[in-house]
């Protein structure tokens, strides 16, 4: 039951959040669309631009659909093998499967270039080929290597909630293991698998970096946005491409958001159940382990060559061992890393807090246009980061958060664009979603009468939130924070057009270095970024959960459910 009457405080806080959501999410997205279709005289788009965008859309869909299909299958196999089959070395497999998650998607291109590039180890050294590896296939491989990890995390979180008594029940009725998998296990996981596929699809559509690095002449909508703005300075074409990119993403997002939830079969009662197969045949388990093993071996190769590359003088020409890349990193290039950490920490804190607060308000109070607020807060999950960034670009080049263009026509404007703060705002805006999901997931487990009990005992609303609700929601906050922090360390699309030379982040630096083909330096920085991300995650984890083992498992659950929501 939601509260019917709200105090003034709740109304004020909600109004502020509501306005922020409109200003920093709805307006920018709307602006891109408007910018794309508006002409001097009215609305319209030239046919040429559209035709161009649609051929790029074809490329995008080709890449994304292929990547989605393969990554989802790989993710499914990995999550079954690593969660349900017991074998030696499973924890090593798990670490490898998770590693790509703390890397920006394009990092795999480093080893790809080292192995298959013009001066690549395999193509050039061993096979003496002079072929260009650049094109669609490279993009697909790199994205699969990165996004299968996402699919693995998503499907794992649902597999852990699987009610294995249903399988026992089928077994008890005489079904063999294959039949059980086809008729029970797979159908019951289908909603979660399709959700995973949708999220992988969105991530693949939004990735502009991989096509830029190894796409060669094969470009996608997302990468074209980047080229149009940085290379050709054609905001108009970029916005049109943006609209064409936004449409499939929004469709997928809306299906994801409103169609799901109707067919979820998992119950909370089975969280601690042992999900390992007890009766799997050794043939099946060897097959699963082999497939997972091959995939994870490729992941291993990817990291192995990044490490090698980081210590090699100049790949393809001079294979001497060197520390010079790290030297330059620590002497001249360390600032972007500090900026990255600052950005990730601040926006993860702010985004998680706003998200949790919104979740709390939207779930427990009866509020004006709450459906819309929920939509606005989750929208950034659908909008490719680079497009969202363009939205900020076209909105906040006008004064007063974009609205001022109609107010201060003559006066010297107060611009948000070109300030250091805008990247914090946009990253926070994108992170609210995670907090919201995490908050929703937790609130489902909290008895709504707890708050009423506290009011009933005479405590005020603020006191109740501080002493009752917040302590209970802390876990959701921390889960959201960890997730947002790791995304924050590798975020690029949304901020790439908004960064100033002074607040350059590490991912941008790595991206620029790769495009200028300096493999060793890029490898050393990518390696360093992964390591500090992992170390910081470890430190946060210890700070939050030190000595609280029971909490840790609780968090892992919520952490899992953020992804699947």
């Amino acid at each position: 039951m939601k509260d019917e009457k709200n105090s003034l405080l709740v109304k004020i806080i909600y109004s502020i959040i509501f306005v922020l959501l409109i200003y920093f999410i709805i307006v920018p997205v709307f602006s891109v669309v408007l910018y794309g279709v508006k002409t001097e005289t009215g609305f319209g788009v030239s046919l040429n631009t559209i035709a161009r965008s649609f051929s790029l859309l074809k490329n995008s869909l080709y890449i994304s659909i292929t990547v989605t299909l393969i990554s989802t299958v790989v993710g499914l196999i990995l999550s079954i093998t690593l969660n349900r089959v017991r074998f030696l070395g499973r924890s090593t497999f798990k670490v490898l499967a998770l590693l790509p998650f703390v890397n920006p998607p394009f990092v795999g291109s480093i080893s790809f270039i080292m192995l298959f590039g013009r001066r690549g180890l395999i193509t050039n050294k061993f096979l003496s080929l002079d072929v260009s590896p650049y094109g669609a296939h490279g993009i697909i491989i790199i994205q699969i290597l990165g996004l299968s990890s996402l699919a693995y995390i998503l499907i794992s979180s649902s597999i852990k909630k699987f009610d294995t008594t249903l399988e026992d029940s089928a077994r008890n009725l005489g079904a063999n293991e294959g039949k059980i998998f086809r008729s029970i296990t797979l159908p019951l996981m289908t909603p979660e698998i399709s959700n995973t596929a949708l999220l992988v699809f969105l991530a693949s559509m939004a990735d502009f970096t991989t096509p830029l690095i190894i796409g060669g002449s094969f470009q996608t909508l997302a990468s074209d946005l980047y080229i149009q703005i940085t290379g050709v300075y054609d905001m108009k074409s970029a916005s049109v491409s943006g609209i064409v990119l936004l449409i499939p993403c929004l469709i997928v997002f809306i299906i994801h958001k409103y169609y799901r939830g109707k067919k979820i079969y998992f119950s909370d009662e089975n969280l601690s159940r042992n999900i390992e197969y007890t009766t799997i045949s050794s043939k099946t388990s060897y097959l699963l382990i082999t497939i997972s093993g091959i995939f994870l071996f490729i992941v291993f190769i990817k990291y192995f060559f990044i490490i090698i590359g980081a210590f090699t003088e100049q790949w393809g020409y001079n294979y001497n061992l060197t520390f010079k890349h790290f030297e330059s990193l620590f002497t001249r290039q360390y600032k972007p890393f500090i900026n990255s950490i600052k950005l990730a920490v601040v926006s993860a804190l702010a985004g998680s807090f706003l998200g949790i607060l919104s979740a709390y308000l939207l779930k427990t109070k009866k509020l004006f246009m709450s459906k819309f607020a929920d939509f606005a807060a989750t929208l950034p999950a659908a909008v490719p980061g680079i497009l969202f960034g363009i939205g900020y670009l076209v909105t906040f080049k006008y004064p007063i958060l974009g609205i001022g263009r109609w107010v201060f026509i003559e006066k010297r404007p107060l611009l948000l664009l070109g300030t250091g703060i805008i990247i914090y705002i946009i990253t926070t805006a994108r992170f609210i979603n995670t907090g919201l999901r995490s908050g929703y997931a937790l609130l489902e487990h909290i008895n709504p009468d707890l708050e009423k009990a506290s009011h009933n005992l005479g405590s005020s609303e603020i006191y109740t939130f501080r002493k009752i609700t917040w302590p209970l929601m802390k876990d959701a906050f921390f889960a959201s924070y960890l997730r947002n922090f790791s995304s924050g360390m590798i975020t690029l699309g949304a901020i790439i057009f908004l960064l100033l030379p002074s607040n350059k982040v590490a991912v941008q630096q790595i991206f620029q270095i790769i495009t200028s083909s300096s493999v060793g330096e890029a490898a050393s920085m990518a390696l360093f970024l992964s390591i500090i991300t992992l170390i910081l995650l470890g430190i946060f984890y210890l700070l939050i959960y030190f000595g609280k083992n029971d909490k840790a498992s609780n968090i892992k659950e919520i952490f899992g459910s953020i992804f699947s929501n």
């Binding site: 009610d163 008594t165 249903l166 026992d168 029940s169 089928a170 077994r171 008890n172 009725l173 005489g174 079904a175 063999n176 039949k179 008729s183 029970i184 159908p187 019951l188 067919k263 079969y265 009662e269 007890t278 009766t279």
Partner: protein, 340 residues
């Protein structure tokens, strides 16, 4: 079919979930495994179904050893505690599942599903989704799904624990009716002694992975042979006494009287059921410490010397009520006590 369980042992690391269990159930009989949670009763049921592998021991169905048969190949269907109905299938599809797996012809499947749904009184609900069913209907569907394959043995894992009191009472009659009608040998796990008494022909009381006592319901109820069983069957007056061996005739002291007994034990328990004690004009004097009105009976807590005795009195209109603090006189038939 009869089922024999021989020397079943199951260990989880250092913990014995089951210790050397021996049980047998005759053809058409229903055996209740009764015990509190964690006593191993569900583990035993799952071992019989083949869903858990035992460490030692064997299981026979009509003298056929099924110990090493996989779960799929045993004809021991189970009604699961939370029903374990397939949520993505309709009632009809759930019931038909076991038949489809057995590759039975579609037409026959249809007929058998219909008949079975009639038997459990769910006719007409074939196309309902599981989510649309009430608790009782889910229970009936789970029962139908297990029955339809005509199993050798039916296994029930606390099937009524998720239902409310009223539904539980009517469902346990239903289960008994259907079990008697189909005459399928059954094993029924429960922690509720009343349910066990109402449903079973035979009860095995379990504690800490061991069977304390097996017998038909009157044996277990009237003649428990150990403290755990007596206590678990809900008997409140179990009095521990040292046997007086000073004379040739051994005696124990109970309610100001000496009772002759014939035992080798030094310590015995005396079971005196509260419904066997009467409040009379003359008898053993006691003091009412408390009284509880529990529907059809009033239970008095009476202190006699050093012991507390509970006395049940039918809550009839014409019966006199006694108040707390009042002194009353009790008598009982010495034949009604059970000493073990």
């Amino acid at each position: 079919m009869n089922i024999k369980i021989k020397n079943i042992t199951k260990k989880y690391e250092d913990f014995y979930a089951l210790k050397n269990i021996n049980l047998s159930v005759e053809d058409g009989e229903i055996l209740a495994l009764l015990g509190s949670s964690g006593c191993g009763k569900t583990t035993l049921l799952r071992i019989i179904a083949g869903l858990i592998k035992q460490d030692e021991g064997s299981i026979y169905l009509d003298d056929t050893d099924i110990t090493n048969l996989s779960a799929q190949k045993r004809s021991t269907t189970m009604v699961f505690q939370n029903y374990a109905l397939f949520p993505h299938m309709t009632v009809g599809e759930n019931v038909a599942y076991g038949l489809k797996v057995r590759k039975i012809k579609t037409k026959e499947i249809k007929n058998r599903v219909r008949e079975t749904l009639e038997l459990v009184r769910l006719n007409g609900l074939e196309n309902r989704k599981i989510q649309e069913l009430s608790g009782g209907q889910k229970q009936r569907t789970a029962l139908a799904r297990a029955l339809v394959v005509e199993p050798d043995v039916l296994l029930f894992d606390e099937p009524l624990s998720n239902l409310d009191e009223k539904l539980r009472l009517s469902m346990r009659q239903e289960i008994k009716r259907i079990q008697k009608k189909t005459n399928i040998t059954s094993i029924y796990v429960t922690h509720d002694q009343k349910e066990a008494l109402a449903i079973a022909d035979k009860i095995a009381v379990m504690n800490k992975g061991e069977v304390c006592q097996v017998g038909n319901i009157s044996e277990v109820y009237y003649k428990p042979d150990n403290y755990f069983t007596a206590d678990f069957m809900g008997h409140p007056n179990i009095i521990k006494r040292k046997v007086d061996q000073s004379n040739a005739n051994k005696k124990v002291r109970l309610l100001k009287e000496n009772i002759d007994i014939d035992t080798e034990k030094e310590i015995v328990y005396i079971l005196l059921r509260p419904e066997d004690i009467e409040i009379a004009d003359n008898g053993i004097e006691g003091n009412v410490l408390n009284k509880e009105m529990i529907g059809s009976i009033i239970r008095y807590k009476v202190e006699i010397d050093d012991i507390i005795i509970y006395v049940d009195k039918l809550n009839k209109f014409e019966n006199k009520e006694y108040n707390i603090g009042e002194s009353i006189k009790l008598k009982y038939n010495k034949k009604s006590i059970h000493i073990f």
